[in-house]
C-alpha cells in the first residue's frame, strides 16, 4: 500500500484527526499564501508601536510597530520550513542507518547500535548550540559566494544539525522492523532469485516500512519544531530580519514588566505554535495507534 494512501485511510476514519490535519493545512497555507494579504510586510517598521489588537492590527503590533499577525505568519513559515527540512534530514539518516544496521546484522549491527546509544547519552542540543555559534560565519561566507544573503546561515545550520539530533529513535525502530522483515520468506525468495541486496532493501523492505516511517515522521516534526524555537528563543536560532515563533516569543518575554503586560505579543505567536504542536502530536499519536505494528494488538 502506498504510504500516502495508508495515511489517508487512517485519518479518514477519525473526524478528530481530520480536524487536526485540516488545521495544519490551514496554518501552512496562511503562512505561505495568506501572509501576502495582511496589508503589511513582516519587517515594516512604523510609529504604531505596542498597539493592542484592533481592526487595523488583528494581533496588535510589536515594539517596532510591526504588524504581529504578519510576523506570526512569517514565524510560522520559518518554523515550519526548519521543521520540514530538518525532519527530511533526520528521516534520510535514520532510515538508511536503521536499514543497514538491521539488514547486515552481526558485528556491524552491534557497533552501529552502540554508536546510537553513545549519541543518546550526549547533550545533543547543547552540541547543536556549539555547532551553530562556531560555524555560522563559515556558512555565511559560503552562502555569499553563491549569491545568497549571509543571514540565512543559521537557518541552514539548523536544517542540518536539528536533523542530525533527531534520527536516533527512527534508526532504532527501523532496525527492529528490518530484523523481523528480513526473516520473512519473500526476502529469502528474492535472495534465491539472485536479486541484489540494494534492490531488496529499496524495493521490498522500504515499502513495508512506510507505515512506521510515516508515524515517526509525524512525531519528529513537532520535536524539531520545539528544538528550533528553543534555540531561537535563546538567541542561537534564526537571526533578524528573519523571525520564527521562538524569536517572537522571546521578543514578548523580554518586554514583560509588572506595569504593562503586552499579552498579545506572547499569546498569539505562542498560542499558534502550541496549537500547531498539539495538532501534530495528536496526528502522530493517532497514526501510531493505527499503523505501528508494535502498538497494534
Amino acid at each position: 500500500m502506498k504510504p500516502l494512501h495508508q495515511f489517508y485511510l487512517v485519518v479518514k476514519r477519525d473526524t478528530f484527526l481530520v480536524a487536526c490535519a485540516l488545521f495544519l493545512l490551514l496554518v501552512a497555507s496562511l503562512a505561505i499564501v495568506g501572509i501576502h494579504y495582511t496589508g503589511y510586510s513582516y519587517n515594516e517598521i512604523s510609529d504604531a508601536s505596542l498597539l493592542e489588537p484592533s481592526h487595523a492590527h488583528w494581533f496588535g503590533t510589536d515594539v517596532n510597530g510591526r504588524d504581529l499577525l504578519t510576523r506570526t505568519l512569517f514565524g510560522a513559515r520559518i518554523s515550519l520550513l526548519v521543521a520540514a527540512v530538518g525532519t527530511l534530514v533526520s528521516l534520510t539518516i535514520g532510515v538508511t542507518y536503521g536499514m543497514i544496521s538491521g539488514y547486515v546484522g552481526g558485528r556491524v549491527d552491534n557497533i552501529m547500535m552502540r554508536v546510537v546509544e553513545i549519541i543518546y547519552s550526549l547533550p545533543t542540543l547543547v552540541l547543536v548550540i556549539v555547532m551553530v555559534t562556531s560555524l555560522e560565519d563559515h556558512v555565511a561566507g559560503l552562502l555569499k559566494n553563491v549569491g545568497l544573503p549571509g543571514n540565512y546561515s543559521r537557518m541552514v545550520l539548523l536544517f542540518l544539525f536539528l536533523g542530525l539530533t533527531q534520527w536516533l529513535t527512527m534508526a532504532r525502530i527501523i532496525r527492529g522492523q528490518v530484523l523481523v522483515l528480513k526473516q520473512q520468506p519473500f526476502v529469502q525468495a528474492s535472495l534465491a532469485l539472485g536479486q541484489s541486496h540494494a534492490r531488496i532493501l529499496w524495493q521490498h523492505l522500504l515499502p513495508n516500512l512506510s507505515g512506521i516511517i510515516i508515524v515517526y515522521l509525524t512525531l519528529t516534526i513537532p520535536s524539531i519544531m520545539l528544538d528550533e524555537s528553543f534555540l531561537s528563543f535563546l538567541g542561537v536560532g534564526v537571526q533578524a530580519p528573519l523571525a520564527s515563533w521562538g524569536t517572537l516569543v522571546s521578543d514578548a518575554v523580554f518586554s514583560i514588566n509588572p506595569i504593562k503586560l503586552y499579552w498579545w505579543m506572547l499569546i498569539f505567536p505562542g498560542g499558534l505554535m502550541t496549537l500547531t504542536l498539539l495538532a501534530l502530536n495528536f496526528l502522530g499519536d493517532g497514526l501510531r495507534d493505527a499503523l505501528d505494528p508494535r502498538v497494534r494488538k
Binding site: 542540543l125 547543547v126 555547532m131 562556531s134 528563543f233 518575554v253
Partner: protein
Amino acid sequence: MNAIIIRRLIQAIPVLFIVVSLTFLLVRSAPGSPFSTEKKIPPEIIAELEKQYDLNGTILHQYRQYMGKVAHGDLGPSIRYLNRSVNEIIMQTLPVSMVLGSLAYVLALFFGITLGGLAAIRHNQLGDRFIMLLALLGISVPSFVLAPIMVMLFAIKLHLLPVAGWGSPDQIILPAICLSIPFTAAIARLTRGSLLEVLKLDFIRTARAKGLSENTVLFRHALKVAILPIIGYSGPAAAGILTGSIVIETLFGIPGIGPFFVNSALNRDPFMTSGVVLVFSSFLILFNLLADILYFVVDRRVKME
C-alpha cells in the same frame, strides 16, 4: 557486574575526549577573536591578550596546550568573565542548576507516575481522557511559552510568588514546576501505557484471585513491573531537563550554568564552552550508566552489556 561498570566508565573516556576536542577546535576555527568587542581594540593588544590566554599560534598548538590543562583538571580561564576561571564559574553555578534540575525531576516522577496510574485505573473513562489530554498539552506547550504565562498569572496578577530571582525557597517553585511539566506529561503517558500492558498479565489475575486488595495489586505488584519503561526514559529525561533548564534559568534570572553557557558560546569563549560541554556530557553519561544499573537491578531478566 562491577567489571561491566568499570568497562563502561573506561569507554566514556574516549567519548568525552572526542566531544571536548570537537568543541574546542570548532570554537577556535570560527573567524575573529573572542577578545574583539564592539569597541575597536588595537590588534597588538588582542595579540597580547591571546598570548596571555594561550590562544596564540596554530589551532593545533592551542589545542595541545588546552588538553594538557584539562588532563590536570584545569578547564582554563574564562574570557568573558574577567579574572574568573572556568572551574570557579562551574563550581558556583552548577549546584544551582543541580538543585533546580533535581527538584524538577522529583516533581516530574511523582506527579507523572501518580497521574499515569490514575489514568490507567480509569482506563477509557472521563478521568483517563482528561489526564491524557492534559499530558498531550504538557508535551506540546513549549516551556518558554508556559513560563511567562505562569509568571503573568501567579506573580504579576495574583502576587502569590516572586517573578524571578534566586535564594529564597519561594523563588524555586515556579521555575521548578515550569521545568518539570513536559517531563511530568511524558512520564504520565509512559506510566499509563505500561500499566495497562502489565494489568493484562497473568500474575495480576493471580494476585487478584488471591483476594489481595486492589491497592496492593496496583502498588506492590503491577507498578514494580510497569516502572521499567520509566527507568528506561530517565536518561533522555535527564538530558531534556538539562537543556530545558537553560531556558528556565534565563527566563527566571537564576544564576545557574545555562545562561553562562549560552553567553560563552555566542561569544566564542573556547574554554568556557568546552568546559561546560565536558561537564554536561560527563554528567549525562554517568546518569545513563546509573539508569542502566537500576534497570538491571529491578529487572534481572535483562543482561547488562
